[in-house]
């Protein structure tokens, strides 16, 4: 049944299929449920018991273990929409979200694509054509040079010449890269070859395209991005900026909104440029225009992400706009229902990405079973998670487990709330970056609001090591936990498993009073 709010819309639907997994699939499925829509999930063999499947009204199994057979299998996904009666497909982020051919295939199948037109994805998805379109539309871009690299031609000769013209330090980007993959900084000419080869390999492994281009690396700059939202009737607004300057190798660590470096004048100019960029590609739906903001307050277009962004919740927190709900409305052909003057800023929001990774080992992805996963709660705390207690973390998928988002009246209060909420996120069994995130949230360089994009890469990560805890306390806890039988399934004060192995009595673990076991 079409939900009441959508009745009379040009392209109404009552069932949405979410072509994704993990926390973003859960996020979108929850929004669907709130909006009165039926939600359909997809799952691969190993995801049968995942949280996103549990969250959906219906789930369709995509047989197979590889991504190509499952979450990247356009044909099977469209067939799943048909068989489950879904009229619309939400791609989430990653996977097929920025594939123009998929957007086209969805539409060709007579389904509603909850995303921008294929043409916008195509233009913005190729960094070279995006840059060209932005120059034409008067959006400022970073000094750089396009180089088409084809097989059998001398890659390095052409690259070195272009690099010399652009100047060092520079950034090598695989045209089809993204999320930090296929992107490398080169500080001096002699490193060009090594970094080029690494970038080309990463891009090929992740995206199947080895093309690369060069641009000047702005040091001391901040990564500031503008959320835009456009409807199919030509209305386009921006929802302020997010600051994602705290990054490690181009992977965002903590994001926040508003940016501590953005003045009302910069916000308005940058917002206008972002809307201009979106309009230049006839954008529809939610999108993000990324800029680099220099120390002097100049900003340059980096790229446009033609999808919902991982860090979209911080924008939702400060504007009060539910971006996924808006995506549904716009996809149904309804007007935005908001004008620029409706968008304000309330308080300050921060998001920390919880990864299964080991900061002390070069942030190597970690695997294991989440023997305990207990989330913090309280005013201004939001956890967007894709996992729950008992889940396995494997090498198959991205190691992001969840996002912890906080909202508070001021930036200082938000940083404290973030630290405190992280301290109360009890994730045991898998190594995570939670401790590192706490060190960051407390760090004077972060709390002062002065972080630039090169910050983490120019620091020794060991300097962010957590404070030591007295080993005696930890050893006593481990020994006591063993003694009290907390390793037994269902261990609790009253469970059957409490039968004491020394006395045979059930229940009270202290029946062995005054006996001690070394």
């Amino acid at each position: 049944m079409i939900p009441e709010w959508m009745v009379g819309a040009p392209r109404s639907f009552d069932t949405v299929l979410v072509a994704n997994r993990g926390e973003i699939a859960v996020r979108v499925l929850r929004a669907a449920s709130e909006s009165g829509l039926r939600g359909v999930a997809l799952f691969s063999d190993s995801d049968a018991g995942s949280l996103h499947v549990e969250t959906a009204d219906e789930a369709v199994h995509l047989p197979g273990a590889s991504l190509a057979e499952t979450y990247l299998n356009a044909e099977a996904i469209i067939e799943a929409a048909r068989s489950s009666g879904a009229q619309a497909i939400h791609p989430g982020f990653g996977f097929l979200s920025e594939r123009a051919d998929f957007a086209n295939a969805v539409k060709a199948a007579g389904l509603i694509w909850i995303g921008p037109p294929a043409g916008a994805i195509e233009t913005m998805g190729d960094k070279i054509s995006a840059r060209r379109r932005m120059i034409e539309s008067g959006v400022p871009v970073i000094p750089g040079e396009e180089i088409a690299i084809s097989e059998s031609v001398d890659h390095l000769g052409a690259l070195a010449a272009a690099a010399a013209r652009v100047g060092y330090p520079l950034l090598l980007k695989a045209s089809a890269g993204g999320g930090g993959k296929g992107m490398r900084a080169v500080h001096e000419p002699k490193m060009l070859r090594t970094e080029y080869e690494a970038a080309a390999r990463e891009a090929t492994a992740a995206f199947g395209d080895g093309t690369v281009y060069v641009e000047r690396l702005l040091t001391g700059a901040r990564h500031v991005e503008i959320q835009v939202m456009a409807d199919s009737l030509g209305n386009c607004i921006h929802l302020n900026e997010r600051d994602c300057s705290l990054q490690r190798r181009h992977q965002k660590v903590i994001e926040e909104a508003p940016s501590p470096a953005v003045t009302p004048a910069i916000r308005s100019a940058m917002g206008e440029a972002a809307v201009q960029a979106a309009k230049a590609v006839d954008y529809e739906g939610a999108g993000t225009v990324e800029f680099l903001l220099s120390e002097r307050g100049e900003f340059f277009f980096l790229e446009m992400n033609t999808r919902l962004q991982v860090e979209h919740p911080v924008t939702e927190m400060i504007t009060g706009v539910d971006l996924v709900q808006k995506q549904f409305e716009v996809a149904a052909g309804m007007p935005l229902g908001l004008t620029q003057s409706d968008i304000g800023i309330t308080g300050h929001a921060m998001e920390a990405r919880i990864y299964a990774e080991d900061p002390s080992k070069g942030f190597l992805p970690a695997i294991g079973d989440l023997a305990m996963w207990r989330e913090p709660a309280g005013p201004g705390i939001r956890v967007d998670t894709g996992v729950r207690e008992g889940d396995s973390v494997t090498v198959e998928f991205d190691p992001m487990l969840a996002k912890l988002i906080v909202h508070a009246p001021t930036r200082t209060a938000a940083a404290r709330r973030l630290d405190n909420a992280l301290a109360n996120l009890r994730a045991l069994g898998v190594t995570t970056n939670i401790g590192f995130l706490r060190q960051m949230a407390q760090h004077p360089d972060f709390t002062s609001g002065g972080i630039t994009t090169d910050y983490l890469d120019s620091r020794n990560i060991a300097d962010f090591a957590e404070p030591e805890t007295n080993p005696a306390t930890l050893v006593a806890i481990a020994a006591a936990a063993s003694r009290l039988g907390l390793d037994r399934v269902g261990a609790s004060g009253s469970s059957q498993s409490d039968a004491d192995e020394h006395t045979g009595h059930a229940g009270d673990p202290f029946r062995t009073l005054s006996r001690s076991f070394p």
């Binding site: 190597l364 992280l422 301290a423 009890r426 930890l474 481990a478 006591a480 070394p518």
Partner: protein, 166 residues
């Protein structure tokens, strides 16, 4: 039972005594040597996986979960791992000269040869795991005794990639 904390090598033993419904730490050794310690007691709590810990009269909760031989402990906003070992058992060989693959993946590049001397922090090989490149670096200076894999090889977690001598 002996215990080690995180990746440190010290082996601890703990003696616990039941007193008034709690287990009090009444003896602690580190590598066989008796250690002075704070006044610590641990009591069962009614929430599953939670213990009540008192250190010098200060009470706090600890959340615990056992995975394999290790206790994962959340205490005071920090997460720790305490590993259990059979008394007198040898150290596991991790970090003993064998450099093991931290993740399943593919070797992208081998940057050292057998017999080569390397400095601490030098990249030995580059591997790809979870679509990202990881540099395997020498934990200390030494001589490369063996390189067990070549470019393009698939490796499993725990495979010894490079053997490093003195």
């Amino acid at each position: 039972m002996e215990w080690s904390v995180g990746e440190t090598s010290e082996r601890y033993t703990a003696k616990l005594t039941d007193t008034e419904g709690a287990l009090a730490l009444t003896g602690l050794t580190s590598d066989g040597v008796e250690q002075a310690h704070s006044e610590i007691s641990v009591a069962r709590d009614n929430q599953p996986g939670r213990l009540l810990v008192e250190v010098n009269g200060q009470a706090q909760f600890a959340h615990v979960a056992k995975v394999g031989d290790s206790w994962w402990i959340h205490l005071n906003g920090r997460i720790h791992v305490v590993n259990g070992h059979e008394t007198g058992s040898a150290d596991s060989d991790a970090g003993e000269g064998g450099l093991t693959a931290p993740m399943p993946g593919t070797i992208l590049e081998v940057q050292v040869k057998e017999g080569q001397r390397v400095r601490e922090g030098q990249t030995l090989l580059v591997m790809e795991a979870m679509k990202m490149e990881h540099r395997i670096q020498a934990p200390r200076a030494g001589e490369v005794l063996a390189v067990n894999f070549a470019t393009g090889d698939r490796v499993d977690m725990g495979d010894t990639l490079v053997e490093l001598g003195e």
